[in-house]
Amino acid sequence: MTPVKLYPPKPEKVYFFGTCLIDLFYPEAGLDGIRLLEREGIEVLFPEDQTCCGQPAYTSGYHDEARAVAAAQLDLFPEPWPIVVPSGSCGGMMRTHYPQLFAGTGQEAQASEVAGRVFELTEFLVHVCHLKLSDRGQPEKVAMHTSCSARREMGVAETGPALLAQLGGVELVEQARPAECCGFGGTFAVRHPEVSAAMVEDKTQAIEAAGAERFVTSDCGCLMNIGGRFEHQKKAVKGEHIASYLWRRTS
């Protein structure tokens, strides 16, 4: 039995943690996530001093540095509102690894408390907001790529596809081996470039073979990797963060 997750009722306010990749490369996806939440009548708090969750240093083994970065984020969410993160991997870092990272330190309790309030954006939209979408977009064949961290660390493999399924004009096509990693893995792509390239090559082939005109993902690492590969090959398949895709088609 997988434990049943209990979701809170829709809150009045949420904190939004934008993530460093979104901040630097895909800010529109972050803003679209905020817009989706605001449209549901939720006040979105964006702590200005947020930077990065610390995951890159964490997975590279630099835990002292990761802890310092994470500690700087912990104080940004003083009120008991949920923390919504438009990324499975940063969400997974905060929800799963913050308690481990601060184990045995003075901030262990604070880290665990913060971790307990973290939600991935699509998870929050489905299970807390009970979002209902009406599609205004053109018909399109779309493949959803759920990131490994959303799928396995946060256990939210179904929420992205569930939201896309609400869009009348969208035909959701399933690529072969949808649960297989795209090969990004943060610094993995740089430390083992050839293996990573073989993985992303297989992923783009699977998405293309499924007949998708576009792929949508809830993680900007995967977006940068898969989208960057398609573009390198001069392929027509476009990639987009799911927050932007949902907002574009329903606003």
Partner: protein, 497 residues
């Protein structure tokens, strides 16, 4: 002999080392045959596992399996003593080996005491770990593998590429070529013909062998029982036909009670090959008793430490000792699937090897293994005893860069001044919010100057370009009501060409 099928290139025999992971990965990735063999095999194994667990409460069973293993490890020193006492009471002689060399010596001396010249072996990864065959051969004792996959890689002078299916890297044509070259069998595509030929070749050797050597899947402390899980019957033959049976196992394979075995067996067969049960399940309690018609005259158990008690000292890495050697982590690993088992250059390849071998071999040898993972979590998700493999990979990355506890041999070997400084720089920037905001703003302003080439990333992908306006700035604009919806100069995910 007439060739029935076109000539096939027999794979070149070569040795592998974890030091050369990158080169070996490069070679494997460039080898369409290896890629195809592994992809096909791993896809099949993943499907089988998924189908066989379909009607099981898998999570409850995994929880049970994990707890059985954790309980056994918590009591390991006592259980090993109990196992020894009960084995000895049953007539099984127990030997302790601190390392592989000592284990080899003990086994060789047992063989020499019987003046043995021919040894037949059942499948045993721990004897691969200690290079037992080479040791015996140096002493003039021939050791022949009798597990079909092991037999094939032995014929081909290779090491196993998988812990359950040692010859999984070979396809039918390659196997046919090996059997033709080494045993004179006519080339064929008929698997049954090849299997029958191998069986025929091995059958005589079982009868002639002076000693049989096997591994152990579960050693039961409560009863002094050695359990052996197999499909081909070579385990049954190895442990019953020759006059002497020597079982070899790592010290972690002990379980407390007989009742602990069925859940682990259920998990092992389903996780490994998608089988409900294996064709054979051997329970060995003693040598041949008076009045019995078969069985060996002597049974020995060699308990091998070989670095395991060092792992045991570490409350995190201890979890690697839970492993029941099912291979599911390999079958589900996207890296292993692409580079194959030999690329790792270690006895145990894939995710389990990457968390086990650094302790056994040291990080100087194995420093590329903990990073050879995208941390996708597939291994941890399928592990039947819930070893937190991704967390342990991260732990070993810490050891590599000198930020762990420093108790893994070769800790700190990967630390470079440049990289350490880079992460310190990252730390500084990410803990100074106004500098961070300034940095992203500058990056946005200079986006036209963003490099089109970013090392290996851009060999295969376009470079991401910083957005003209950061999220911080977009949110500010949005709050001020100047947000018109779509004209922020931001980026919705399309890369600039």
């Amino acid at each position: 002999m007439m060739d029935a099928t076109p000539t096939v290139q027999t794979p070149t025999v070569q040795t592998y080392t974890p030091r050369e992971f990158h080169r070996q990965a490069h070679d494997a990735l460039g080898n369409p045959q290896i890629r195809a063999n592994f992809r096909k095999a791993m896809d099949g194994l993943m499907d089988k596992r998924r189908d066989v667990f379909g009607d099981w409460d898998l999570e409850t069973l995994r929880e049970l399996g994990a707890n059985i293993r954790l309980r056994a490890l918590a009591k390991l020193p006592d259980l090993l003593e109990q196992l020894e006492a009960n084995c000895e009471a049953n007539g099984i002689r127990v030997h302790w080996a601190e390392d592989g060399e000592q284990a080899c010596r003990i086994i060789r001396e047992l063989c020499e005491a019987r003046d043995a010249k021919a040894v037949i072996k059942g499948k045993s990864m721990v004897t691969e770990e200690m290079h037992l065959n080479a040791h015996l051969e140096a002493a003039g004792i021939e050791a022949l593998e009798s597990d079909l996959g092991e037999y094939l890689v032995q014929l081909n002078e290779q090491t196993p590429s998988h812990i359950i299916m040692p010859a999984i890297h070979l396809n039918t044509d390659e196997i046919s070529g090996i059997m033709h070259d080494k045993t004179g069998l006519e080339r064929t595509r008929d698997v049954d013909v090849m299997t029958a030929a191998a069986r025929h070749q091995l059958r005589e050797r079982f009868m002639a062998a002076d000693v049989g050597i096997s591994g152990v899947n579960f050693a039961v402390a409560e009863t002094g029982t050695l359990c052996l899980v197999e499909n081909e019957g070579n385990g049954r033959m190895t442990t019953t036909v020759p006059p002497v049976h020597i079982a070899v196992t790592g010290i972690e394979k002990v379980v407390e009670q007989l009742r602990d075995v069925p859940p682990l067996y259920a998990l092992l067969t389903r996780s490994a090959t998608g089988q409900h049960v294996t064709t054979y399940f051997n329970m060995i309690n003693s040598p041949r008793k008076a009045g019995e018609h078969d069985g060996p005259e002597e049974v020995h158990l060699v308990l091998v430490d070989n670095g395991r008690s060092n792992i045991y000292q570490d409350d995190e890495l201890l979890d690697t000792l839970r492993c029941i050697r099912c291979g599911a982590c390999m079958n589900h690993c996207p890296v292993y699937t692409r580079v194959g088992g030999h690329t790792y250059g270690t006895t145990y390849p894939g995710p389990i090897g990457s968390i086990l071998m650094p302790h056994l071999m040291g990080l100087e040898e194995t420093k590329d293994l903990p990073t050879a993972s995208s941390l996708c979590g597939a291994c941890g998700e399928v592990c039947p005893v819930k070893i937190p493999i991704p967390d342990l990979l991260v732990r070993l990355r810490r050891e590599s860069v000198g930020e762990g506890r420093g108790n893994v041999p070769g800790a700190g070997v990967k630390r470079t001044r440049t990289e350490a400084a880079a992460w310190k720089g990252f730390q500084w920037l990410a803990t100074h919010p106004s500098a961070w905001r300034g940095g992203t703003a500058v990056a946005g302003k200079l986006r036209a100057l963003a490099p089109a080439r970013l090392g290996p990333w851009t060999d295969y992908r376009s470079a991401p370009k910083p957005a003209g306006t950061s999220l911080h700035a977009l949110v500010k604009r949005h709050r001020a009501g100047k947000d018109t919806g779509n004209t922020t100069g931001g980026n919705r995910g399309e890369h600039d060409s």
